[in-house]
């Protein structure tokens, strides 16, 4: 049975419009993956010798154990945002004679075959081998340690599945992380030490490999039960409806021609799960500056501060904007055949993004605590976001022709992440743009000039709004048929 599933999956993959994107992008992505694998392998080998050199009196594996908790935490965060969870439409399998458990095992098994699971192995494997070859270690300990790491990685994999599917788990873990982070930050209690002790113990006692193994099996079982429970028409894929009211939103009429679209966008955001999630995430982005402004190290690296300042006000802009026009994928044909000037449509999206930047900026005033320099940077970053980033993001959106389900009720069986590697490529100018625009004048003249340049770049963008919108409109027009075709693809 599994063989047939695999064949079906392969067909779905190779026949999707995403796969049929330009060969150049595919090559770039492959190179990117190779680069990461190469770097990981290199880090594995070099990491061993490097640690030996930096801390000659300490054992490299012990050092890794002490810090590996951060790796796993980072892994968890990255996965949440980047890992595409597999999609398996269960409805067709419900009435044909396949055991439910087989379907679910396959669904879960599919998540194991992910780049995110292989990448850590490319580090741990060369690291373990180098340790064995060069160090004075017992083979059984290192092998058991390696498998422990493997099982932890897979545990994170299954945990991520739950995080994505179950809001309770998501908020639970988020709370734990925030609390742990705060405790650590205010030096009330440090999780690093007990975590290091824990991992070292696992290394010293090879039989302790059963702990991560059990953790993995437990999470797997938990996932299994979670999916199994909802494996009914009126379970996971049913719709629950509650009474709703017509909202006029007449206060938006002041925006003139753009008003009908703005009204819809506002309704879209408050009535659908996916955009709500984005809204929530953009709120989190507001705190992004805390990571950078509080660290001594970054005070010497103002380019990173510029980057962080841009992020503080740009959370919504980027997470919402990168999925324009995907937000409207469910009814894109209507928009394309109705009496809609494309420009108004784009302008409405743009206005929404700009308003979000302004709101974020107002909310970011407490950052004045870190000094006017920092706040000036945030202001300049906000201008950059409004004037340039908004257009780059809108431009990137149309290249991202991923149909989206706005209100993913059947979360466990549908794609929750419209995020893909193409987005990463488009993200480059967004990230390095503000850094460069700030850093060059800062380096050659002074700090203030850097801020002014960043601000002016944004103002210039705003001055040329019409020009940019026209250009983006052209790209959208050009991509029209392709986008319609991609959006009508069955999800």
């Amino acid at each position: 049975m599994f063989k047939r599933f695999v064949a079906l999956e392969w067909k779905q993959f190779s026949r999707s419009s995403y796969f049929q994107k330009g060969i150049a992008i595919k090559i770039l992505l492959a190179l990117g993956a190779l680069y990461f694998i190469g770097m990981a392998a290199f880090m594995g080998v070099a990491g061993y010798f490097g640690l030996q050199k930096v801390m000659p009196d300490k054992d490299p594996i012990t050092v890794v154990n002490n810090f590996v908790i951060y790796w796993f935490l980072a892994d968890m965060v990255f996965r949440y945002f980047l890992q595409q969870l597999p999609v398996l439409n269960i409805k067709p399998y419900m009435v044909i004679p396949i055991k439910r458990s087989t379907v679910i095992h396959f669904l879960l098994g599919k998540t194991s075959v992910s780049f995110f699971n292989f990448l850590p192995m490319f580090f741990f494997l060369p690291f373990s081998i180098t340790s064995l070859v060069n160090g004075d270690y017992t083979v059984i300990n290192v092998v058991a340690w390696f498998f422990s790491m493997l099982f932890f990685t897979l545990s994170i994999n299954y945990l991520n599945f739950l995080l994505n599917k179950n809001n309770k788990v998501f908020y639970g873990i988020l709370t734990v992380l925030v609390v742990a982070g705060l405790l650590q930050y205010y030096e009330v209690y440090s999780i690093t030490e007990p975590a290091g002790y824990f991992f070292n113990t696992i290394y010293e006692k090879p039989y302790a490999v059963v702990i991560p193994l059990l953790l993995m099996v437990m999470l797997y079982r938990f996932n299994f039960k979670f999916v199994r429970k909802d494996f009914y028409l009126d379970g996971a894929i049913s719709k629950k409806t509650k009474d709703v009211h017509t909202q006029e939103l007449t206060w938006l009429n002041r925006f003139g021609k753009v008003a009908p679209f703005l009204k819809n966008d506002v309704r879209m955001i408050i009535r659908n799960k996916r955009p709500k999630q984005v809204l929530f995430m953009s709120f989190i982005f507001l705190f992004y500056g805390l990571i950078f402004y509080t660290q001594e190290t970054y005070q010497e690296m103002p380019a990173f501060l510029a980057f962080a300042s841009m992020f503080v006000t740009g959370g919504f802009l980027m997470s919402f904007g990168q999925l324009v026009p995907s937000w409207d994928s469910e009814y894109y044909k209507l928009l394309m055949s109705q009496n809609i000037p494309y420009r108004e449509y784009l302008k409405s999206k743009w206005s929404l993004m700009v308003v979000a930047v302004v709101i974020s900026f107002i909310l970011s005033t407490p950052y004045i605590y870190f000094g006017w320099d920092i706040f000036g940077m945030i202001a300049a970053g906000a201008l950059f976001n409004m004037g340039l980033n908004s257009f780059i993001t809108l431009y990137g959106g149309v290249l991202n022709q991923v149909p989206m389900e706005l209100n993913v009720k059947a979360k466990a069986f549908s794609n929750t992440q419209g995020f893909n590697p193409t987005q990463l490529l488009i993200a480059l100018p967004k990230i390095f743009g503000p850094m460069l625009i700030f850093y060059l004048p800062y380096k050659f003249i002074n700090f203030e000039t850097g801020i002014i340049c960043l601000a002016v770049s944004g103002i210039l963008g705003l001055v040329f709004t019409n020009f940019f919108l026209n250009q983006i409109e052209k790209v959208y027009q050009k991509q029209k048929y392709k986008t319609i075709a991609a959006f009508s693809e069955k999800k």
Partner: protein, 231 residues
């Protein structure tokens, strides 16, 4: 009103639609029938510029649809559920379409009054988003929305499918009414030969992308069509 010349659409060398010429005069009620894969939806999609023709063109009021968007203000359509915005209530959806077609809220309310029967109390003030309505009710909302703002051309793909018998009868009345009392050009595709012969003055049969019959509807039309499809 609509004129087609040398229109063809092919995917990877396979021609799915090939119409040398077809003229639909203003005010005509035009029915399109044909088995699955005959090219009905392809034709409508081309007419709405949702796909690109491989050759030839369609003119809507002398505007080449793939070159200019000026046909959009007087053309409206309901092809499938992707023409509905799922997270809006029916009212919001009607007002939105009204906005796009230059109709105020009061205009739309006035307009909707005449369709109270058709809605059968299942659409308005239901406190439900469109995505939570049944297929049939979604269709009702979509069809009526396509009539907002007195468009000159109305395109409906399989309007009778999924509707309950009462609603089918009411829809026929609405279409006949539009045809007789306004100058609207109506294009309908259907698998139901009885309905289509009843409401359309002219019927074109498509087969494998080609027009094989072009009939002015008469008493004998239904029999002729049944004979044709009973091959």
């Amino acid at each position: 009103m609509i004129s087609v010349s040398n229109l063809s659409k092919s995917y990877n060398g396979v021609t799915v639609l090939n119409i040398e010429s077809l003229d639909i005069p203003a005010g005509e009620s035009f029915g399109l029938v044909g088995n699955n894969g005959a090219g009905k939806t392809t034709f409508f999609s081309l007419l709405l510029d949702l796909i690109q023709p491989s050759s030839g063109c369609i003119k809507n009021k002398n505007i080449i649809v793939s070159e200019s968007e000026k046909w959009k203000p007087f053309t409206s359509s309901f092809i499938d559920e992707s023409f509905l915005i799922g997270y809006l209530t029916a009212e919001e959806y009607f007002y939105f379409i009204g906005d796009l077609r230059g109709q105020t809220k009061a205009d739309v309310d006035e307009f909707l009054k005449q369709y109270e029967d058709f809605f059968n109390d299942e659409i308005l003030q239901k406190k439900k988003y469109l995505r939570d309505l049944s297929k049939g009710n979604q269709k009702k909302a979509g069809i009526i929305a396509a009539l907002i703002g007195k468009p000159d051309v109305v395109i409906l793909d399989e309007p009778f499918a999924n509707l309950d018998p009462t609603t089918q009868i009411r829809l026929k009345k609405i279409i006949k009414d539009l045809d007789e009392n306004t100058g609207t050009t109506i294009l309908i595709s259907s698998h139901d030969l009885i309905h289509v012969t009843e409401v359309c003055k002219r019927i074109v049969v498509l087969d494998k992308g080609e027009t094989v019959k072009d009939i002015q509807t008469s008493q004998a039309t239904l029999e002729e069509l049944e004979a044709y499809f009973n091959k």
